[in-house]
């Protein structure tokens, strides 16, 4: 069964206050050059269909409860990919007045055992995201 999950990761893209740069790079994954459908990954329209939450943005105070709600709405097991420096550690916005707890902290508050993959970069290259997806697949093997 892990095999099926590894071979068919459906991605839902959550923007928690990103500058749009990471979002563009996420869309890049669908283009002919990178084509993540090779690995069975597709973008889906609702978190209830998703296995991977591709989170971009620094997780502002406004976005934090929504991100947690989206995580609750995602059927488990699921993987969270924190894409970009902002999603990883709030990047240049650390200690800004409008910041929430950060993507990983917000999600760990809901589920302490959440699987979180960090993809650093501003924005990260599509290759880095694919590498993260492959690492997530390796992690799923051990579930």
């Amino acid at each position: 069964m892990n095999w099926a999950l590894r071979k068919s990761l459906w991605v839902y893209h959550v923007n928690t206050g990103a500058c749009n740069n990471c979002d563009i790079e996420v869309l890049e994954l669908l283009t002919p050059k990178y084509d993540i459908e090779r690995f069975g990954m597709i973008l889906v329209g609702t978190p209830r269909h998703a296995d991977v939450l591709a989170v971009t943005g620094a997780c502002t105070r406004q976005a934090q409860p929504k991100l947690q709600e989206v995580y609750r709405q995602t059927p488990k097991p699921c993987v969270v990919m924190a894409i970009g420096s902002c999603a990883g550690a709030q990047g240049i916005f650390t200690e800004a007045y409008h910041m929430g707890a950060g993507v990983d902290t917000a999600i760990r508050a809901v589920d302490p055992n959440a699987i979180i993959a960090y993809v650093p970069g501003c924005p990260p290259k599509p290759e880095a995201m694919i590498a993260a997806a492959v690492k997530a697949m390796e992690l799923i093997k051990t579930l």
Binding site: M1, W3, A4, L5, K7, S8, P32, D35, E37, R38, G40, V44, G45, T46, R48, H49, D51, Q73, P75, K76, P77
Partner: protein, 312 residues
């Protein structure tokens, strides 16, 4: 035919159609990838998708009517499987006992979209409600043209409600009314399958997969299977009624497979080369454009049948 034979036929046809449907689902995605100059998913992709969905958690929205929400996809799947069983037994053994007529098939193929609406409304989500209202309008638009197109096949077979029985030697497609009916039927098939120009009901970027927004886990797997089966059943219906069915010779079987694949490729290509229509545009398209064409085809077929003009 004993009860046991009927049940065995039903199960065999359901499983066979399921396998064909999943294969077509992969074929559809692979052709899409080729159109977009991508590599596309591996051949086992639909199987992996279904297995994964079966094994994932099933979430129930707090606003949902649980029974209706969970039963609707199963009823839709069962209806599609029954339609598939009738069509396959009509194709493979056209002279055997009662296999149901065209009215039963039209009725059974109405059920999956209606069950989609039912499940969407039972989920209690506003996105699903928008999707359900669009699906309803879409049914009102495409069902009449589809029935008109099938009626052409019925007229060509000498007003038989089981056109595959008396269709030996008569292929409705090889006439003017038949060609028009086929075009109408292909467009209606596209809408019935919920493929791109007519996918306003699920519109994933706009209303978050619309009618399916609240489904996850096993019910979503059942929906996936039902849609895969419908993808196998609709071309089968068109071939059976309008395009000569299956002739049990090596050449006939090859021709049948060719027609089958051709229709699925058509569905894929239409889906890849068209933008999504707004629901009012889709209704206008069907009521002002496709339905009159269907009526014209029926009139031509009646005239042809009356005066024994074969090419009409």
């Amino acid at each position: 035919m004993g009860v046991f034979t009927i049940i065995a036929t039903y199960i065999a046809a359901a499983i066979g159609t399921l396998v064909i449907g999943l294969a077509f689902k992969w074929f559809d995605r692979k052709v899409t990838a080729m159109v977009q100059w991508r590599k596309g998913p591996p051949w086992y992709q639909p199987v992996a998708d279904v297995l994964k969905l079966l094994y994932k958690e099933t979430l129930l929205p707090s606003t949902a009517r649980r029974t209706g929400f969970l039963f609707a996809p199963a009823v839709g799947l069962a209806a599609t499987a029954l339609a598939a069983a009738i069509l396959w037994s009509a194709l493979l053994r056209p002279e055997s006992g009662f296999v149901g007529d065209i009215i039963v098939i039209v009725y059974l193929l109405m059920l999956p979209p209606i069950m989609t609406i039912f499940g969407a409304i039972a989920s209690g989500s506003p996105h699903a409600a928008v999707g359900a209202s669009r699906e309803m309008k879409l049914i009102l638009s495409y069902e009449l043209p589809l029935i008109l197109a099938l009626l052409v096949g019925v007229i060509h077979s000498g007003w038989s409600l089981q056109p595959w029985r008396s269709a030996a030697g008569v292929t409705p497609l090889y006439s003017i009314s038949g060609v028009i009916a086929m075009l109408v039927a292909i467009v209606a098939m596209q809408a019935k399958l919920g493929q791109v120009p007519f996918d306003a009901a699920e519109a994933e970027c706009e209303i978050m997969s619309g009618v399916y927004v609240e489904y996850s886990g096993t019910p979503l797997a059942i929906i996936y299977l039902g849609r895969a089966m419908l993808l196998a059943v609709m071309p089968l219906l068109l071939i059976t009624v309008l395009w000569g069915g299956l002739v049990a010779t090596p050449l006939g079987i090859a021709a049948f497979i060719g027609k089958y694949v051709l229709l699925v490729v058509l569905v894929t290509l239409i889906r890849n080369t068209n933008p999504r229509l707004r629901i009012d545009q889709a209704m206008k398209f069907f009521w002002m454009g496709v339905a009159p064409l269907g009526i014209a085809a029926v009139v031509l077929a009646v005239l042809g049948a009356n005066w024994a003009i074969k090419w009409l």
